[in-house]
């Protein structure tokens, strides 16, 4: 018996990294999962196969979350396949890092479009279904940098801070319909993105973390399960900081 038996979850950006870990952990708790991806079809199909091995059902749906038509198609595919959407995890995100002075307008727009507008579009698209169900969980993946800032990431930080504000507003608007909306702000998590960093940069990162290690994608995935389950039924509009104590 899992905590999410029979539930349907849509996870955006689920082919790699934290999104992949979230999709797998939701499946381990019994949920069927819609694995959204933008470019990595092969990786997304691997996640689908792994979920089927775990014992629940999954489909992969391609689509850029910054595109309203693609988002509508994603949610329609989920409902057609599984009949409901109980959990939405807005995880898809990109980076286009540059110093503010050098940042191109296009770099700004791309990141805001995927990381912030994408959350708005996906949330809007599932709300109709969740209102009918009189139940739903929306979990938005923000970032520690959305709270403390980060040099070289003006676009990413603005989007991630925006996600926290959007989380609070959506939580207030939908609370009366039993749709609970919370955010998670991961710190430095081991992914392909952090693996690629030079050792001295990693060392500097570790020095800022009271618990002294990078986080694992599973640390985030476990919190998503908590926010998706009955265990968190009196929580909405909150941001969980999972960062080894970096921000407190």
């Amino acid at each position: 018996m899992g905590k999410l038996d029979g539930k349907t979850a849509v996870v955006t950006g689920a082919s790699r990294g934290i999104g992949r870990a979230i999709a797998l952990e939701l499946a381990r708790e019994g949920a069927n999962v819609v694995v959204n991806y933008s470019g990595s079809e092969g990786k997304a199909l691997e996640v689908v196969e792994e979920i089927k091995t775990i014992g629940t059902n999954a489909i992969a749906v391609q689509g850029n979350v910054g595109d309203a038509d693609a988002v509508q198609n994603l949610m329609s595919a989920a409902i057609e396949q599984f009949g409901s959407i109980d959990i939405l995890v807005n995880n898809a995100g990109i980076t286009r890092d540059n110093l503010l002075m050098r940042m191109k307008e296009e770099e700004w727009d791309d990141v805001i479009n995927t990381n912030l507008k994408g959350v708005f579009l996906c949330t809007k698209a599932v709300t109709r279904q969740m209102m009918k169900q009189r139940a739903g969980r929306i979990i938005n993946i923000s970032s520690i940098v959305g709270t403390i800032g980060n040099a070289g990431q003006a676009n990413y930080v603005a989007a991630k801070a925006g996600v926290i504000g959007l989380t609070k507003t959506t939580a207030r608007e939908l609370a009366s319909r039993n749709i609970l909306v919370n955010a998670i702000a991961p710190g430095f998590i081991t992914t392909e993105m952090t693996d690629a960093l030079p050792e001295d940069v990693k060392g500097a990162m570790l020095a800022q973390i009271p618990l002294g290690t990078l986080g694992q994608p599973e640390h985030i995935a476990k919190a998503v399960v908590f926010l998706s389950s009955d265990d968190s039924s009196y929580m909405t509009g909150q941001t969980l900081h999972i960062d080894g104590g970096m921000y407190m």
Binding site: R128, M131, K132, E173, S176, R177
Partner: protein, 78 residues
């Protein structure tokens, strides 16, 4: 076959939990029938399902009374 008025009345009674006798043509969803803004959004969604039509956000904003809903739907059904 039920009339548009009867079908709209049923949706309003189910959604807003009001008595059928309160659902008059001139009744405002918000002023007279106790709907909040989210209730009106939901009501429009259910009318879309009931009549199998799409009501644009722009048109939905103009629907304030039971009569508005009925005349909008009748004009769409032609």
């Amino acid at each position: 076959m039920a009339t548009v008025l009867e079908r709209v009345t049923k949706v309003v009674v189910d959604r807003l939990g009001v008595d059928e006798s309160e659902v008059k043509v001139e009744a405002s969803f918000r002023e007279d029938l106790g709907a909040d803004s989210l209730d009106v959004v939901e009501l429009v969604m259910e009318l879309e399902d009931e009549f199998d039509m799409e009501i644009s956000d722009e048109d939905a904003e103009k629907i304030g009374t039971v009569g508005d809903a009925i005349s909008y739907i009748e004009s769409k059904l032609g």
